[in-house]
């Protein structure tokens, strides 16, 4: 019966060829293999975000007068609503963390080497989209901290010469953060970003499958010197089970965080109230927020904020084009590692300084 059913399904949905290909496909096994799993974990968290986000959409109302109350309703009245919202909020943060670790591992393992330039570019764009998800989703509960943090965040764009005002108005849907901004952020968060992300995730996965896992140059060299092949494991079931193991750890972490540190809602935003003390963005934007504080008012007659903004944008472009700038030059890749170490140290120090100043904690 089972064999007949399998044959019936196979005749209509031919999967055997794909399963066979996955059994034959291999993944390198070496001392850095652990880093291969962060991409999968990010993907798993994206899936969780899509699922929990869809559930939240059933009750969430994107207007200034109803947003806060609807989230309150989800957390207090909807069965397991508190869990869904808490998982959505925690998974968002873990997703950013996993994506950042994935990027760092790719830099240090030099996995961006040709022919994986487009895989890198799609990955950097996906990280940018993940940060945009975080920024646009932050305002949606319409609480005090998110409201003022969004006001400060969108204010930054004002430093852009000529187009600054337009960009700020475009992001806010008006002169200030209002219900129009909330509606705008909601649209971006649940429609525009997911659509672009889905296409880019598909492209990224396709390229990863096409090129296979990258071998770090040190492992390649060692195998060459020892005159043996690098050990590998079949994609199915070995790698898939290991991936499943990593995903289950993430799930356990999410369950523990949601149970013991439920994501709080804070107080409802009051646009007419003065900004409370301790306003700051999400942890992954803290280093930028802190860096801006140390910028002088003007540098060579140019606004310090604008110089910082140009610096951030230039850094972003350099990161995006990294494989094209480095090419096949090994010494350049080594330099990139040193620069990456400096950047990580800078970001970590700035984040820690910002965290030392008492804020309101999680929204």
């Amino acid at each position: 019966m089972s064999a007949r059913l399998r044959a019936w399904v196979e005749a209509r949905v031919p999967m055997q060829a794909l399963i066979d290909a996955m059994r034959h496909k291999t993944v390198p096994l070496h001392r850095y293999s652990l880093w291969y799993y962060f991409g999968g974990m990010t993907l798993f968290l994206f899936g969780i975000q899509v699922g929990t986000g869809a559930l939240l959409l059933l009750y969430y109302r994107p207007s200034a007068s109803e947003a806060y109350e609807s989230v309150q309703f989800i957390m207090a009245r909807v069965p397991f609503g508190w869990l869904v919202r808490s998982i959505h909020a925690w998974a968002a943060n873990l997703m950013v963390g996993c994506a950042l670790l994935h990027l760092v591992s790719v830099v240090f393992l030099q996995a961006y080497r040709p022919p994986r330039e487009i895989t890198w570019v799609s990955g950097v764009l996906l990280l940018t989209l993940t940060l945009a998800f975080g920024f646009s989703g932050y305002l949606l509960p319409w609480n005090e901290l998110a409201f003022f943090a969004t006001r400060v965040g969108t204010d930054l764009a004002e430093a852009v010469p000529a187009a600054g005002d337009f960009i700020v108005r475009f992001m806010r849907g008006g002169d200030d953060v209002t219900g129009a901004t909330l509606t705008r952020m909601f649209g971006v968060h649940v429609a525009i970003l997911p659509a672009i992300t889905t296409v880019l995730v598909a492209l990224h996965l396709l390229l990863v499958q096409a090129h296979g896992m990258s071998l770090p140059p040190s492992i390649e060299r060692m195998a060459r010197e020892q005159g043996r092949r690098v050990r590998s494991i079949p994609f199915l079931p070995h790698f898939v089970l290991r991936d499943l193991f990593a995903w289950t750890i993430v799930l356990a972490l999410l369950a523990a965080l949601s149970a013991f540190y439920p994501w709080q809602l804070g107080t409802k935003a009051d646009p007419f109230a003065p900004a409370p003390a301790g306003i700051r963005p999400e942890w992954y934007f803290l280093w930028m927020f802190e860096s801006l504080k140390y910028m002088p008012a003007t540098i060579a007659g140019i606004s310090g904020e604008l110089v910082a903004l140009i610096g951030f944008v230039l850094c972003g472009i350099l990161v995006l084009l990294l494989p094209f700038l480095v090419g096949h030059r090994e010494h350049a890749r080594r330099r990139v590692r040193w620069v990456a170490m400096f950047v990580i140290a800078f970001v970590a120090v700035m984040t820690m300084i910002a965290l030392r100043i008492p804020g309101e904690g999680q929204p």
Binding site: H238, L241, F245, P262
Partner: protein, 381 residues
């Protein structure tokens, strides 16, 4: 000698010139100057350097301010009874007798540079009234001459009314003129006190008037509200006032033997019980909130309980047990609902933690099984 006289005359002339200039400058931008009133309108037939006699000031002002037809030109709704009221005031009565040390219009409003009462710079703007009155009523020597003490303004400054007006900026809070009147200022009599306080404390006054205390106080000549609350230095009332023991306000007249002791004890216990219930519910809700739980319904019930506590404190003025007990019972019920919501949230939190712990155990079990499966797979070459 002659040169000395010349110098003195010159200095006097220069001084008069300077003060006239200052007065002209002040009037130019004040309420009179900006309405087209000139020096001659008040000082006609006089040397402008000379102030009108104090006994004539009120009458001089009344020439315009008591003329409805004239005043309507500047403000159709302006009052014109100030002079009539002034004549009924202690100030006006004394002034008519020729006592020039009492206040007249210019003492409170100023002579030149007069601003409207609603202007915060005016000496008679609500926040400045007490300071203006204190210029005379805070002067022990001046008030001693009239057989009065100088403490009222200092006492008022330590009252809940002063805190509300000066610290919280609540312009509706009473100052001197709110209770004594402004132009017709005089102390309210024993029978008028409740009418003064009831201008704001309407419900307390209604309850008091319907209570058995009113006729008792009237019969013994006690000044209603003042007996318990005092007059100028009105402090925030405390639940501890209602007791027949120690320094309690009720204990001044009542002890176990005096009629009403059982009511006082019941009211004291009722207030204590409701306050404790509110505090306990607040603690429980705060614990639940700190643990990340939403207890909006509980907060709503707690607000309701607090409203009943306020209502119960007001109902004390009925001096009867039945209406008070009804309010307290409702308050205690609301506080219990709040407490129950908090307890329920804390139980829910425990339930969630237990559930998630079980889920974690299952997940860890699955991880162990997965690990064993991975280990059992054939090792790569």
């Amino acid at each position: 000698m002659l040169s000395g006289i010349v110098v003195l005359c010159s200095v006097a002339a220069m001084s008069a010139q300077t003060s006239r200039q200052a007065a002209e400058d002040a009037v130019r931008s004040d309420v009179h100057g900006s309405s087209g009133i000139t020096c001659a309108d008040c000082h006609a037939g006089q040397r402008t350097e000379t102030a009108p006699p104090r006994t004539d000031v009120a009458r001089l002002c009344a020439r315009c301010h008591s003329d409805p037809a004239y005043m309507r030109r500047f403000d159709p709704q302006v009052r014109v009874d100030q002079f009539a009221q002034y004549l009924t005031s202690v100030h006006g009565e004394q002034m008519r007798k020729g006592e020039t040390r009492v206040a007249t219009c210019s003492d409170c409003h100023g002579a030149h540079g007069i601003t409207r009462v609603r202007d915060s710079r005016s000496p008679v703007a609500p926040a400045n009234v007490a300071q203006t009155c204190a210029r005379c009523h805070g002067d022990a020597k001046r008030m001693g001459a009239f057989g009065r003490n100088e403490t009222p303004v200092a006492d008022w400054s330590a009252s809940v009314h002063a805190t509300a007006l000066l610290k919280r900026g609540d312009a509706s809070a009473p100052t001197c003129s709110t209770c004594h009147g402004s132009h017709g200022a005089r102390p309210p009599g024993v029978t008028e006190i409740a009418n003064v306080c009831s201008q704001c404390h309407v419900r307390e006054a209604d309850l008091f008037r319907a209570s058995p205390k009113k006729s008792i106080f009237e019969s013994i000549g006690q000044a209603e509200c003042l007996v318990c609350h005092g007059n100028h230095k009105i402090e925030r009332p405390s639940d501890a006032w209602i007791s027949i023991k120690g320094d309690a306000v009720c204990a001044v007249c009542h002890d176990e033997q005096v009629k009403g002791a059982s009511t006082i004890i019941a009211v004291h216990q009722g207030l204590e019980g409701l306050s404790n219930a509110v505090a306990s519910a607040d603690r429980t809700l705060t614990r639940a909130e700190r643990a990340g739980m939403l207890v909006e319904d509980g907060r709503f019930s707690l607000r309701e309980a607090r409203d009943h506590l306020i209502d119960a404190r007001v109902t004390v003025h009925a001096f009867a047990e039945a209406p008070f007990t009804a309010v307290v019972s409702e308050g205690v019920a609301a506080a219990k609902r709040a407490e129950q919501t908090g307890d329920q949230a804390l139980r829910e939190l425990q339930y969630r933690r237990r559930g998630l712990t079980i889920a974690l155990v299952v997940i860890v079990g699955f991880l162990a099984a997965l690990w064993l499966k991975i280990r059992s797979l054939p090792t790569p070459d």
